[in-house]
Amino acid sequence: MPVVFIPPHARRFVNGQKQIEVEGSTVEKLLRNLETEYPGIWDTLCVDDALKPGLAVAVDGNMSNRGLHQAVQTESEVHILPAVGGG
């Protein structure tokens, strides 16, 4: 099952857990599934059906610009990180 690493500011919605295994084939599905079990986490990370501005998703260490639509594999690690600007 994919593992979602819960960003520190969202951990209070998941009883302080740092990572949670959850079903889903996209980041969106993972977070929706998390929300059913842990209400409040969706609104902490997302707004208007997208990640909040300033946040980005990384799957297996790679930052993605696909946001919630990014596909995940069964063994994937998913991180929600600050968006990065380059030079």
Partner: protein, 766 residues
Amino acid sequence: MATAESDKTGLSSKGKYKVIGTRPIRPDGVDKVTGRARYGADIRLSGMLHGAILRSPYAHARIKSIDTSKAEQLEGVYAVITHKDFPDASDKIAELGEGSVNLKHLSSNVLADDKVLYKGHAVAAVAAETTHLAYEALDLIEVEYEPLTPVLDVRKAMQDDAPILHENQRMEDMSPDATTSDKPTNIYKKFFFEQGDPDAAFEKAHIVVEREFTTATVHQGYIEPHAATAVWSAEGKVTLYTCTQGTFTVRQQVAELLGLPLSYVKVIPTEIGGGFGGKIRVYIDPVAVALARKSGRPVKVVMDRASVFEATGPTPGSWIRMKLGVDAQGKIVAGDTEIAFESGAYPVSPIGAGCMCVFSCYDIPDGRIIGYDVCVNKPHSAAYRAPGSTQVAFATESVVDEICEKLGMDPIEFRLKNASVEGTRRVDGVAYPRIGLVETIEAIRDSEHYQTPLAGPNRGRGVASGYWMNAGLKSSVTATVNGDGKVSLVEGSTDIGGSRASIAMQFAETLGIPMEDVVPAVVDTDSVGYTDVTGGSRVTYATGWAAYEAALDVQRQLCDRAAEFWEVDSSEVTYDKEDAAVKGPDGKSFGFVELAEKVTQASEPVVGRGVSNHNEPGGAFGTHAVDVEVDPETGKVKILRYTAAQDVGTAIHPSYVEGQVQGGVVQGIGWALNEEYFYDEAGVMRNASYLDYRVPTCYDLPMIDPILVEVPNPGHPYGVRGVGEVPIAPPPAAIANAIYQAVGVRMRHLPMSPPHVLHEILKKEG
């Protein structure tokens, strides 16, 4: 110069490719050495007016009124604009591919709304027949200000009683014990990352070192000032010539700020005279467009050098507290850091990246990172080559050096013991794919430089490593096969450092044709598919990948055409890139040139297309060694020798890869030794010129020796990793460590300019 190859992967580029790894002359070279290449300020259109911008003399003030009537009446003036000429911007965040921007902030930065937030903040603009006249008109604009107290230092700006830049700003707290407050603050956001239990781990550490560091605001220092020329058509369409790292990004920002349909804005890239992250956000482009709209004439706006310093995005000054603990064997057991970046007049700064880079080079099982993004009365900070990484590398690598000294351990041995490898989990949680940090450390250890003892008084050697994550993002190219067997390659990545060559080479490699037979063109936003900025070290990786896809598309189309000519099924036809030929059954064969000619005469055109949006750019690491000599009587630091080892994935065009490393190192040396924004108490930058903003000259430097370590990126067809950014990160720390070896003082402030170094020497001598 040396090229070390990785013997661990067996995937070195040498001998594997026909075109990749060679050093052809760049396609745009002749235009650039003969003065024919057109840069931003070189655009001249008939009927063109010249724009000029009125800027705030105050670092912090409320605008009470602006009277432009006298300027409007001056003979030869065609338009005067202020913030009121822009539609109300929403508080929406626009993603610019690399980084994002709040449109309301962007709009207020381009022309100030109710407040000016830094000296040089644009307030109004004029279009007139000549530049001289436009500047005369600026003197006739009357602005009434109510000056406010400025705050210029990140720590002061974080205090409770600090002057507030944005009354409606409340801190967004990303820490687990986040609380909300309704108090106005200059802190835009507090970042928090934690892995393991650092507090417990420090308890068990054998040695703990905790230090504070500060770094001054510095600028990218590109030699070409920003320049934009806008043409407004009666039907409401805009053509904009501009020197930018990203035409599509400019298109988006201009359209949003002026309320225009995206597709009505056509951005034509000129050549670009350097950017380094500073030519992504717009400053003058919307002004040129608004002036063109109001005057009905084409308008060119060119920034002067002082405005480039005072009013474009430098990279943040910072304060950093850095604490590391090691066990008796020299293994890092815990890390804890607090990082505060000056975002300038508006959020956001590259603090997020700084947090991700700060412990990136080491395996730190228990660590905590806290970051603050803080507004101060300086221009809104922007990206600068590996944004955020240099500041934090200075802190981390300096403390690592101090720990090595306390342990009595060689800094190379320490790094090899603690270096991040594939699978190492960073404190922000991400685990690395295959990376080449260890190989760069070994390359330095084995280098002739490191193996040669350094002799002489007041001399010292320092080592430091650095990291940048690199970016993937979106790119598009099209490739038209011409009747003469050459290919027109159309791309959207503006070429700052030879990317026409590195993209064309990957295309040529894929088809097995000579690079010289590929004619690249960097075109406008109407003429190529969406392409993200030339930044994030992504162009050779991502646009190169798009070119690879386009070449595969060309292969497929050529095979189909050949199949038609031969009247066979296309499954029986293959493309042989070794011979640059299409091969069919019964020994049938068309050479590339032959088929190109035949297709052009008697078949549908062959137009290949390639897009990419891959996200495995392969982070890049570098390890540097530097020898310095310090004049103990003046504190002046001389760079005697510099070697930079970097994991470059695959070096497509080694000369330009070396050039990226050398250029990044020298920018890092400038940051280390002399570059800084020097403000007076009123918030006026006292050194807004190349005279006193001291970028290194040729006479200040030795040759810079790059060692290209090639650990191919498994996430790219040719193993490309971004190379441009990471080399700026290690130099300040490496030099600080060398200064300590030379004269025994630990420098914890950048720049390590002579007055600072001498001060420490005198303090030490008592």
